[in-house]
Amino acid sequence: MVPLNHYLILSAIVFTIGVIGVLIRRNLIVILMSIELMLNAVNLTFIVFSRFLGSMEGQVIVFFVMAVAAAEAVVGLAIIIAIFRHRQTLDPSEMQFLKW
């Protein structure tokens, strides 16, 4: 039986890597992918607790998180496409000002 703390530390590591990705990368698509990575780390935590507490609620919540992540990825990518058409770049530091 793998101890609970092992899973929690792994999940925290993956979450931290996702946060690093959001903070230091300057490509919108990679930022969106890092957000997905963070969501997956949280999913892992939910499933781990669902197993260790013997309740199905963790898995149901993960189901909903997956649906919401799908919706968010779709809308995020649509926004990225719309932005790319106008600015021809995916660098967030070029988009800091509202109207230029």
Binding site: I13, V14, I17, L23, I24, M33, V60, F64, M66
Partner: protein, 164 residues
Amino acid sequence: MAPPLIPFFVLAFLLVITSLMVVFQRNVVHSALSLVAALFLIALFFIMLHAPMVGVLQILIYAGAIMVLFLFVIMLLNPAALEQRRGVWWWFGTVAALILGGLLVAVMTGTEPPPDPAAATALFGSPEMLAKSLFTDFVLPFEIASILLLVAIVGAVVLAKREP
């Protein structure tokens, strides 16, 4: 190292490596494929943790549909120029993220762990149990999630449409 720990450590090591590749690869397509590998490994974790239904759904939805969408957008947009060198703030960002990580680990492992779980029945994590929960306790979030997906589809089509 006890036998049940070996698969865990192998998978955990691979997961950390693929996550690092997602964040630190210069080529966006390689990043996306590393994320596919990371999602697949997380699905394997789910299956190890007696959640086969959610694990297979993770492969089906996340690795099979969402990441295909990412790859489509990357291929169609074809961002030609490599991104510029990271600004001076990247040290700051990394340190802040590492502090966050340290806090997370401290808080999550500092509390009392729950007692060892009873052996899971064959039904735990099966489609029947998930469906029972989903359609009795969580039916309202279920319906709202379906409306959310509809809204997302319509919104994405409107946002990405070309001006005629």
